[in-house]
Symmetry: C2
């Protein structure tokens, strides 16, 4: 069902941005920039181009990416204003089904994290579960700001990879 | 009615991004990055921080910004999917009231422009009118790509300034 890389490379920029614009949450500029780097030889090259664009941003730009992410189990989830991708990822990790103790812990730790760092806690929810998310959030609150900025960006890249894999044939799944 | 700069500086990043996230069309990452630079001494400092962030992007990133912009009188206008800011700006310049000759000229020139440059024609619609937009579109189609990329970014900054002025008290309007 996914597109192969030749089909990706043939897309006009408008279609490319429509399809891939949210592989980094609310940052269509990244997708739109990376279109300049086509043709991509394979999935890995497309993913690498996105990753390199992110790496070349100033530190403020990396913080900007993090600030475009919603809180886990936060007001966007409760208000129905998550992007489709985030909604599915948060639901998959049980963020829409916290008991009241978990919900209040999550809310308190999210606020503590944002107060300390000035950006939200970002984690690839699809690769973990509720208990681990709460544990990581609690632990990562104690990191240094620069460490946590880099850690958040690593998670952004994991999220990006999974979102891309839902759209494009990757080498791992391509048994030629 | 607009916020003064002290109120802007007091905003948590989530409110800052909610309020200013579209001063550069569909690029909340820029606003979110610039929050790292607060406090801003005045309107001009806020505008300058955005402008500097844009200038420091690689050329592909500048093209990415342009590709986040809709066509003038294009499918987003006709389909009702423009952002509020773009809809008001395009309507103000008469883009929603083209006669059939103007509409077909606009469509043809937009396609020609995008085919040539790989990004859309961007112009600060509030600072011009229908006749001038058509003339500029026709003329700018003949520029070199690098010239036109820089020209598009100049227009992005003009659009940004007007969107900011609708939200924040600027020195020009601040008779202290």
């Amino acid at each position: 069902m996914n597109m192969d890389i030749a089909a990706v490379n043939a897309l006009p920029y408008e279609d490319f941005v429509n399809i891939f614009g949210n592989v980094v949450e609310k940052c269509p500029i990244i997708t739109a920039a990376v279109w300049s780097r086509r043709p991509f030889v394979n999935f890995t090259a497309l993913e690498a181009a996105i990753s390199e664009f992110i790496d070349e941003l100033p530190e403020s730009g990396k913080e900007g990416i993090l600030r475009c992410h919603p809180d886990l189990a936060g007001r966007d989830l409760h208000g129905g204003t998550l992007t489709r991708e985030s909604r599915e990822e948060q639901a998959g990790a049980g963020m829409d089904a916290l008991n009241s103790v978990e919900a209040s812990n999550m809310a308190r730790l999210n606020e503590e994290y944002k107060e300390r760092f000035g950006f939200p806690f970002v984690i690839c929810a699809r690769m973990t579960d509720k208990a681990n998310i709460l544990r990581q959030l609690s632990e990562r609150c104690r990191n240094e700001r620069a460490v946590e900025r880099a850690r958040g960006i690593e998670e952004v890249k994991k999220i990006c990879r999974l979102r891309l894999q839902a759209l494009v044939v990757s080498e791992a799944s391509n048994k030629l």
